[in-house]
């Protein structure tokens, strides 16, 4: 996937330096992983409870939400787009899906059918929102930044309106049946982690092993060339936003049973978390190339920082965001050689 960039080849004849440079590039491309490992070592030194199974599963479960969204976001960013609305979208999907399930449970009862229909609704709303974004961006020829900045406000406002500024809460009966989707586990592994793994594997497969994935990368490197190569640029781009919308729906399906409620502060700043995970993972913000495993590591890295800060007492609580900022810049610095 990562073809040698002709600009990176040294101009002078230095045959001996070339392999060394290749090794360096390899190491640099492992930047996010090295960053995560370094952070884990520090975390363990600070607090031995960090490596307990319970804590690691907390961290991975939390990473599942922004991670699943970030996998979808990787496609959008590789194709040269961006989506700023995913946090608001998740909040709106959560609120709508709770309202739908509450309404259904009065006629269908708080059973599996109600929950399944709620999940379907979540995926459908996500897909429709993505379809809307993709269509307005490609056919309407408006910058993705602008379109999704607009919907960022719209989605959250609609949710705030539906909730009257308060909270939309899931019926107790439905909540009890639905709870295991977040709190349950299969073979000792929490369900959100399993879903996250599946989404990441599937995402990697689509990006690297299918024609669609190659087209996404081609469009991101040069939309003009892709058009000349008779690639259906519009269709492919719309599909990236639909995929992201479905990912947001899926993340919300896992999120709703956690607290059983949606409030106007649900999903706040998830868009930045997802974008940060993608970029930390080594995907170029300008599009063209990227990798799913990097995104997964990026998402876990971000959640781990937060976890470590909660597990220790060394740094003033006022400086939490600063630590996150330094780590993001640090990891990006590690792999700057690739650009």
């Amino acid at each position: 996937m990562s073809q040698p960039d002709p600009r990176a080849v040294p101009s002078g004849p230095a045959p001996a330096a070339a392999p060394a440079r290749a090794v360096l590039t390899r190491v640099a491309s492992l930047g996010p992983l090295l960053g995560l490992l370094a952070l884990m070592v520090v975390a363990t030194l600070l607090n031995h409870d960090f490596l307990t199974v319970a804590n690691l599963s907390n961290v991975l479960t939390r990473a599942a939400f922004s991670g699943i969204i970030a996998v979808g976001m990787t496609f959008v960013i590789i194709s040269g787009g961006i989506d700023l609305s995913v946090g608001s979208m998740a909040a709106l999907i959560a609120g709508s899906m709770i309202l739908i399930m509450n309404a259904l449970s009065t006629t269908l009862g708080p059973g599996v059918l109600t929950i399944a229909l709620g999940m379907l609704a979540a995926l459908a709303i996500g897909a429709l929102a993505g379809l809307f974004h993709g269509t307005v961006i490609t056919r309407g020829r408006i910058e993705p930044f602008i379109v999704t900045l607009g919907t960022l406000g719209i989605y959250r406002a609609v949710l705030t309106y539906l909730a009257q500024g308060g909270a939309i809460s899931l019926d107790q009966g439905v909540g009890d049946r639905y709870g295991p989707v977040y709190y349950g586990s299969v073979l000792g592994i929490p369900i959100p982690i399993l879903v996250f793994t599946a989404v990441a594997l599937l995402g990697g497969l689509i990006l690297n092993r299918t024609r669609y994935g190659r087209y996404v990368q081609a469009i991101g490197s040069s939309e003009q060339v892709a058009r000349y190569a008779a690639i259906d640029v519009t269709g492919i781009k719309i599909l990236t936003y639909v995929l992201l919308g479905v990912c947001v729906g899926l993340a919300t399906i896992l999120y709703v049973p956690r607290l059983g409620s949606a409030t106007p502060s649900t999903g706040l700043l998830w868009e930045l978390e997802a974008i940060a995970a993608v970029i930390i993972g080594g995907t170029a913000l300008k599009g063209g190339s990227g990798r799913i495993w990097g995104t997964v590591v990026g998402a876990i890295l971000l959640v781990t920082i937060e976890n470590v800060l909660n597990l220790t007492n060394i740094i003033s609580v006022y400086l939490n965001a600063a630590v996150t900022g330094f780590v993001i810049i640090g990891v990006a610095f590690f792999q700057r050689g690739r650009r």
Partner: protein, 316 residues
């Protein structure tokens, strides 16, 4: 030139005539938009007060406006004066510093100003101040902890709100009250941002870090929701008490129902906006002076008095 003068005079006359024609009191109410539970409660109670007071005093008109940030709010109160010709303003400022000058400008033009909850940086910009008692909010909670655990001792974790002066006042008062009992130990205090999700995560990490926690001061009912979910997930039974605060209807309901984990709550009622509007209207209509500072006390809600604080129709 004379043409222009005449036009100016005419428009001034037109602008002034409605005010002359009737001695109607127009009260502007400017509050933050409903962006989380507590402010949603503020919007609800402001509209309740409007309906009630306009019925009680036919000569009073109340205009409720919500703003999403300080800038919008500053523009809004200007419009309230120039367009709606208000005689009095009841304002819950988004932020203290940026709104001090705009409010002072209104007062300089003869508008009676009541400031609610979040104070301005210069008290001279207001005629009256109505606020919740943040110190008492922390103190009442701390005193309850001392009463419950003073003899046996307890390990306590604290969730703070968003880094603000209000939060500092509350936490300082809580710590001061708890300090009266040396057997109560505060293990740590981290920010949960008055938010369910963040409180859930912080509590998960507290549970990983501390093998024995006896009580949690969640300092907010929204955060208490997240804390309880984290406890349920970790199946931890060492925690005997989760104390929230503010008076969210679900929390008050739990107190009424005699919940084991949340037996009490401490109020910081969004209905203080209704009190402020009522006091302002009464003082305007009857011409009586209004107290310079009115503190709405923070009260311990117990099963005995819970029904007085239960508003089932409020969104909060």
């Amino acid at each position: 030139m004379t043409h222009l003068t005449r036009l100016t005079a005419l428009s001034l006359f037109l602008a002034a005539s409605p005010a002359l024609a009737q001695a109607k009191q127009i009260i502007g109410v400017s509050i933050p938009s409903a962006d989380h539970g507590w402010t949603a409660g503020v919007v609800y109670h402001a509209n309740q007060a409007k309906a009630m007071l306009e019925k009680m005093y036919p000569n009073v008109q109340i205009i409720v406006k919500t703003a999403k940030d300080s800038n919008e709010q500053a523009n809004q109160i200007q419009d309230l004066l120039t367009v709606n010709k208000i005689n009095a303003l009841v304002i819950l400022p988004q932020e203290s510093a940026p709104l001090t000058r705009p409010v002072a400008a209104l007062k300089a033009k003869g508008v009676f100003v009541t400031v609610v909850d979040r104070g301005l940086t210069d008290p001279k910009a207001q005629d009256a101040y109505v606020a919740g008692d943040n110190t008492a909010f922390g103190r009442v909670a701390g005193e309850y902890f001392v009463k419950q655990f003073g003899s046996g001792g307890a390990n306590v974790v604290v969730l703070r709100g968003i880094p603000t002066v209000i939060d500092n006042q509350r936490v300082d008062a809580f710590k001061a009250a708890v300090a009266k009992s040396p057997s109560i130990k505060i293990l740590d205090a981290k920010f949960g941002n008055w938010n369910r999700d963040d409180a859930f995560k912080v509590m998960q990490d507290y549970l990983t870090r501390f093998p024995k926690i006896d009580a949690v001061w969640a300092s907010d009912d929204d955060m208490a929701v997240g804390v309880i979910k984290a406890l349920e997930q970790a199946k931890r039974t060492d925690v005997k008490l989760v104390l929230g605060g503010a008076g969210m209807k679900e929390a008050i309901k739990k107190v009424m129902d005699g919940d084991k984990l949340m037996p009490v709550d401490v109020t910081y009622p969004p209905s203080m906006i209704a009190d402020a509007i009522r006091l302002t209207v009464e003082s305007r209509v009857k011409g009586t002076p209004m107290k310079a500072t009115t503190l709405i006390p923070s009260v311990l809600v117990t099963p005995a008095n819970a029904k007085d604080y239960y508003f089932p129709n409020s969104p909060f």
